[in-house]
Subunit: 232 residues, 2 copies
DNA sequence: TTCTGTGAACGGATTCACAGCA
DNA sequence: TGCTGTGAATCCGTTCACAGAA
């Protein structure tokens, strides 16, 4: 386990690093200088051993007996994840969802910038949305080169998603954030992350269905023993 | 492995079932009568063995030598997941993100209904958004009981998310869809699903950073050898 | 013959437990 | 003494491989 990252690092580890970074940012904001893997783990619902093991793939950032320097570790993680620069993205699909994404204020502070907006429908082309003018997807490849777009955000209906993804891949984009509820086919060197609230809900309901209705009783009632009895 | 679900089913399995259901719905729409685990797996980027194993937790839905009846299996999965009914949800936070969620048309067709909207800010209370009138979170517990709300959607800033979650949990809500980039503390019987595009992007960049820039060259160019040379 | 259902084998991620350093 | 870093042990999900049904 050395910092040269010569061996392949499990993807689950990479998926956790942004969460570590987020919590470290909060701790830094709170003015904390040191954290132990113990405390970081408690905040994140992750075991201390897991955090230490994850970090050990990339180097030795802690001090025995003291813990990790919050600022230092945050800095290291940001560099490992490539968050120490700006990433240029393109949005495809300027319907209701697409417009909401363009209006989302959470990307910019983290260095993600939507620099161009496209649509399949010529009827949308030319419209202004904030600082952007909607372009036709035909113009995407050229824009990718000119603007240095590395990430595509897919916000078209599921039925059009594959078509849009093919266009992105052909334009050289290798990372896609997909809001369409569709199974996309991409080459093995293209990465896709799904944002799909409906699918997320559909697994929640499995567990809700198992819960007896009595558990719906609010905690206030349960904490007033004698007034309400839910079990003999 | 029997249909009585007496043993605990791995959560990853439950997370895959909605994806199976989604693809089966497409197949049903296409008029397909049967699918093999092979074909379903190809569509979903999942191995056939995995699909068969996953389904075997719940029963024996296939016919040897033929495959699965598309309509039948879809029906079974919808019942297993509890999708054969309507689920009532509450939205908390009616800022830009919250309003976008209220306007999202993807929930209703799948049986998820946002029946009430709340905000922490009294200044928002009373405003109409579509068919809903914004209420103060103080009124949440009562609404949960009256409307049968089982799921809470958190769309407030990260700094207010924990407060909102506590209110939901106290009101008896046991399932939360969290759009706030925050690590929430909930009792062990409360389920949370995160919707966090920024965190998703932050793991993508790790892999993008590793890619040599030459890979940015579009496929069209690579397929015209001689015209473009990117490396000596 | 084809494809399901499923124990058994496998592999990889998580957790353990402790050596080692501050 | 406190907490990291990390091989070893463990756990658990995935894949294998085949018996069995249509």
């Amino acid at each position: 386990m050395w910092a040269d990252q010569s061996e392949v690092i499990p993807e689950v580890v990479i998926l956790r690093l942004p969460l570590y970074a987020r919590t470290l940012a909060v701790l830094a904001y709170e003015g904390r200088e040191l954290v132990s893997s113990q405390e970081l783990g408690e905040r994140l619902h992750v075991t201390p051993a897991q955090i230490r093991k994850d970090l050990s793939y990339f180097g030795r950032f802690g001090k025995q007996g003291r813990g990790y320097n919050v600022r230092r570790l945050l800095q290291e993680l940001r560099q490992i994840l490539g968050l120490d620069r700006e990433w240029v993205m393109a949005l495809i699909g300027v319907g209701r969802l697409g417009r909401a994404i363009l209006g989302y204020s959470g990307f910019a502070p983290e260095g993600f910038r939507v620099s161009a907006a496209f649509d399949l429908d010529a009827g949308e082309v030319g419209k202004r949305i904030g600082p952007l003018v909607v372009q036709h997807v035909n113009e995407l490849a050229e824009a990718v080169q000119r603007l240095g777009i590395r990430i595509g955000i897919v916000a078209v209906p599921a039925s059009a998603a594959q078509r849009v993804v093919d266009i992105l891949v052909n334009a050289g984009v290798r990372a896609i954030l997909n809001y369409a509820p569709a199974d996309l086919r991409v080459p093995s060197d293209v990465l896709v992350r799904e944002i799909d609230p409906v699918t997320a809900l559909q697994s929640l309901t499995y567990y809700l269905k198992l819960q007896p209705t009595e558990q719906l009783v609010p905690l206030q009632m349960l904490s007033a023993p004698g007034l309400f009895r839910t079990e003999p």
